[in-house]
Symmetry: C2
Subunit: 337 residues, 2 copies
């Protein structure tokens, strides 16, 4: 969900190809994981991510909410490498009449809250829809290491920094007509029939989707560990776990029963005709960190971490479902059973 | 032309407002001129610029040409502050079926030629048209200064690094159906009636528009001067000269007869129903440097510089046309007589 691919070409393949190309040029490649490190291995992390109207968020969403979401999604990439965010640059392509000042203003405010300076912007006309790209620069904290996807070793324990699938469930509700305003008030569609007891869960899911929070503090804490691999779950646990395993040349075994789910998430999913496990494994846009630590190493405290499995000899990535283990394919929710 | 504005909001106004906002926050602002300097005043220059299909370049242009143009336009921003380009990040939003690999491949090659490493990219789906944003980082050369728009003083001489209006003329020809392929072969529309002797000038104009060259070496040379103000002419000489004067709190007087024009540019302009002076003053996308130097200071050698006037007490910006001086308004070509 998070990063729709151009027909016939996935971002993974394109980035891999680019990395090989640049590698051939003989220079050390700064192309990293969720961000690039500049100079290669150096103290700056840079990431670029876009939000496109009708693709990443519903058409007509308040520009102030678009701005916050754009920042959060980019912050999550910096969280995944253990960086502290510092500077932001916006490239905005918007249709005539779009309230660019509202977006800039909200972005500047959200940046300030996150300790980021909005340092520049480019404004252009895109007739049909809003396309907003943010470039974010972060620093490596003093005494910290960059988190890489390639640091996992056989025997490591596998964790996620929060619940899975909730954002994707919120996205389904938005597709059915739910909405949220700038004060985070949620409006459920009139024709949505769910038990009253599930309404708070529905509100939370929609907020989670439209206003995700990047796990920056967790990333910085992991950067203080001697060895931790990490990335942020943006395209669904299955796909992102495969990425981590591929970079580390290992496999993994996760436990279905250990996957952290939000309160009443499973009930609400079924009430709206969705399979909770499919959302949790493939829904995407969770923006929690997926990370590994050596065995007997406790994860950073004060975060809602859950241990979901362990690293195995590669390359298979498997899931244990009530004693039966099967292969977990690197697929989005719509391809999973 | 270069930076179409969202209705009711110009980029100048938005950047000015953003700078004031950030200024209030009490921290030194990195918001610079053509780029931001990070940390404020520090050794990195960063710029972001977008190219949008059907807005900045004709629909259906070869993705390889789009890539080169995108890079050149961004390099020109770095040239304007005297930076050496180092790293690039692409955010691409493209319709289904778009040949992203061709664009990436051409961009990586053009980057390498310019000494730039393409260090990352983001790929997303935009149903209607290509939106490509590039973030470019550059270094301050050893012993060099950042060029600023604010460094002009009364009495300084005013120069441009090359001819004016040619790119805008090329754009007009493209609008009428001209085209160019990846080998820079130009095809003029069958219904275009111009004297044969003007055909080479038409080819040059189209190449100039689709494949501009950033004046990086000139920017670096100017950065070695004790005092030089500069920016790149992207939105037309009139508009960009006003920007330079506003930042330096001065005025200017330019000589119509001193404006450098490409061979047979005036003749070709008239042959296709355009006013050469309007194109030269307001056409935009020239991507030459507009700069000032103290009097009796020769401009860097080996560049096609032309002295076009001098800095006067502000705030009026004037043009001398055959002995008659009139005010030059900060308008694009379509607003000029």
């Amino acid at each position: 969900m998070a990063r729709p691919v151009v027909v016939g070409e996935s971002e993974d393949r394109l980035i891999g190809w680019l990395r090989r190309r640049e590698g051939r040029a003989g220079k050390p490649s700064p192309i990293g994981d969720d961000a690039a490190f500049l100079p290669p291995g150096g103290p700056w992390a840079i990431t670029v991510d876009s939000q496109i109207e009708g693709v990443h968020f519903p058409s007509g969403l308040d520009p102030a909410l678009v701005a916050r979401r754009l920042l959060s999604v980019n912050l999550s990439d910096l969280a995944a490498c253990g960086a502290r965010p510092a500077w932001a640059f916006l490239a905005l392509a918007a249709p005539p009449g779009f309230d660019a000042r509202r977006l800039f203003s909200s972005l500047a405010r959200a940046c300030r809250t996150a300790g980021v300076t909005l340092a520049g912007g480019d404004l252009a006309r895109n007739p049909e829809r809003l396309v907003a790209s943010l470039t974010l620069l972060g620093n490596r904290p003093v005494g910290g290491r960059w988190l890489r996807r390639s640091a996992a070793r056989v025997g490591d324990r596998l964790y996620v920094g929060g619940t899975l699938g909730e954002s994707a469930l919120g996205q389904r509700l938005l597709t059915r007509g739910a909405a949220m305003d700038i004060r985070r008030r949620v409006f459920l569609p009139g024709d949505l029939v769910i038990p009253n007891a599930l309404v708070p869960a529905a509100h939370r899911a929609i907020r989670r989707h439209l206003a995700p929070r990047a796990q920056l503090a967790l990333g910085v804490a992991l950067g203080r560990e001697r060895r931790a691999a990490a990335l942020d779950v943006s395209d669904g646990l299955a796909r992102d776990l495969h990425r981590l395993c591929a970079e580390s040349r290992v496999g993994a075994l996760i436990e279905e029963s250990a996957l952290p789910l939000a309160p009443r998430f499973a009930e609400l999913s079924r009430a709206v005709g969705e399979e909770p496990l499919a959302l949790a494994l493939g829904g995407g846009e969770d923006y929690v960190l997926l990370f590994t630590l050596p065995p007997r190493k406790a994860p950073p405290r004060d975060f809602p971490n859950a241990e979901i499995g362990r690293i195995t000899p590669g390359p298979a990535v498997r899931i244990n479902q009530g004693g039966v283990s099967r292969e977990l394919l690197p697929l989005g929710w719509d391809h999973l059973e």
